[in-house]
């Protein structure tokens, strides 16, 4: 059974004149690394809020259609019940850390659900280790860099041991190297812990290589869903303003000029470089 499934999901914020997501039907399998992209205002963030019930419980408004996450109907269950299953990491690290020490922040969710102190300590330490911030656990949030803050945010949802982690543009405020480190942490959690990851990102240059399931949204609708290699090589994807990775673009441009590097559309510089080395090396 799919871990997330939506059917004709349509949602309008209170007071808004038109819906933010329209007829969204998607299916995510357990253990997948899903990438959602699309131009600003396409409804990506709103969709993320549906996964843990922030929409409609926190935002009110009207949600139509069906949604099931970890087998739970989020329409009927409040966000605090979903927190054990779905962890949400937001764009701005600053506004999701509220305690005065990092480990206290990581413990916040566990404290809220009333986990015993001994068990909490274990889970907190595990989450700190998984995200590589164990050594700075006693510092306060403003003593650490933005990249570290975002790791704290990840650790703090990880401590709840959710089946799914949803990250809404988690690296837009970070420098490229810190961003890459964050993506590696997420990728490892996906591969080693089997956590289903849903990552919302503009910057496919940095992220396309991690995914096997891409969802492209535009104007509230799902425009493409499926194999990233196929979607990113289609002309329409480019037309709706998705930033295709440069390596993929170069591959397509070469193809147009008659240099076919193979059937596999590359998603990263490594893949393209390998193809080029093979095609251009003297025999």
């Amino acid at each position: 059974m799919a871990i997330i499934e939506t059917k004709n999901l349509t949602y309008t914020y209170p007071g808004a004149t038109k819906p933010s997501i329209v007829d969204v039907s998607i299916k995510v399998e357990k253990g997948e690394f899903v990438l959602i992209t699309g131009p600003s205002g396409c409804g990506k963030t709103t969709l993320c809020r549906c996964f843990n019930g922030l929409v409609p419980h926190f935002y009110q408004g009207e949600l139509k259609g069906e949604i099931s996450v970890s087998g739970i109907d989020t329409l009927k269950h409040h966000t605090y019940e979903m927190a054990k299953h779905v962890g949400l990491v937001f764009q701005n690290p600053e506004n999701q850390l509220f305690a005065l020490s990092i480990e206290k922040d990581v413990a916040f969710g566990l404290e809220n659900v009333g986990v015993s102190r001994e068990e909490m300590r274990k889970k907190v330490d595990w989450a700190l280790n998984q995200t590589g911030i164990y050594d700075i656990r006693e510092r306060s949030p403003h003593e650490i860099s933005g990249g570290q803050q975002q790791r704290v945010a990840i650790a703090s949802v990880l401590a709840m041991e959710p089946e799914i982690i949803v990250l809404d543009e988690p690296t837009s405020f970070l420098d490229p190297l810190s961003a890459e480190k964050i993506f590696e942490v997420i990728y490892r959690l996906n591969k080693e812990q089997g956590i289903t990851v849903i990552l919302v990102e503009h910057r496919l240059d940095l992220t396309a290589k991690y995914t096997d399931h891409l969802i492209v949204m535009d104007e509230g609708k799902v425009r493409f869903e499926g194999d990233p290699r196929q979607i990113l090589s289609s002309e329409e994807t480019r037309l709706i303003g998705v930033g295709i990775p440069k390596a993929t673009l170069l591959y397509q441009m070469l193809k147009k000029e008659g240099l076919n590097l193979g059937d596999k559309t590359p998603l990263s510089s490594e893949e393209l470089a390998d193809q080029l080395l093979e095609a251009l090396s003297p025999q």
Partner: protein, 260 residues
Amino acid sequence: MSVFDGLRFRKVYSPIHNLDPRIKFVYVIAIFVVAILFYQIIPLLVLFFMQIPFVLLARVQRQWLRSLRGAAFLATFIFVVNVATTYFTSGYLLTAANVENAAAMTLRFVVLVESFSVFFLTTSPDHLGLALEESRVPYEFAFAFTTAVRFVPVLAEEAQTIMDAQKARGLELEKGGLLKRIRNYVPVLIPLIVSAIRRSLELAEAMESRAWGATKKRTNLYLLKLHKGDYALLAITVGILAVAVYVHFFVSIPTIASLL
């Protein structure tokens, strides 16, 4: 990083910092009560000097001196008013006893300031928040306190950025008369308020997502435990109170003027 950096709390470790904030608070209240109990200068001087070992142990002497300096103006005021009133009410007589009395009143005020400043200088906000949580104060209140401490420096920094952004658009905050100057701050205040509202919404969203309000029986990662030092401080506090009460009722305290 800005002029507002002073608002940020720092973690310092010292025997005094490690004490349980609740016991420290009891101690401060005891000093407070004792200070009110006496109007003679000698016991107040004793109280004043008794705080100094704490200050030194906590290594906050510099900040402590600064807070005393801050109180200097009010202290002078109290002294002058006391001297003046006795001078006028006692038929234009300025006696040594009157001056001493005024000095004692001033010292009482200084002792109060001193002990509270030791408390706040040696208690980190997270410790204080924890103490609030464990003192049956509703959790929402403790949370509001620590979150405020967390975000005051952030907002201060933001205010600085907004001021810079508006100055870069030719806003001159110091230009014009008083009314105009107040109006000059509108372009700073509106973005600050809008952004604070936006921030609080994002915070609420993050809190909801992390199971805020899931159960009434909230647990806590930390537990405040009383250590040897805390018991020692408690003993000292009880000792001070006992001695003070005894002295107050059974010992007649001489004035310095009478000793000379």
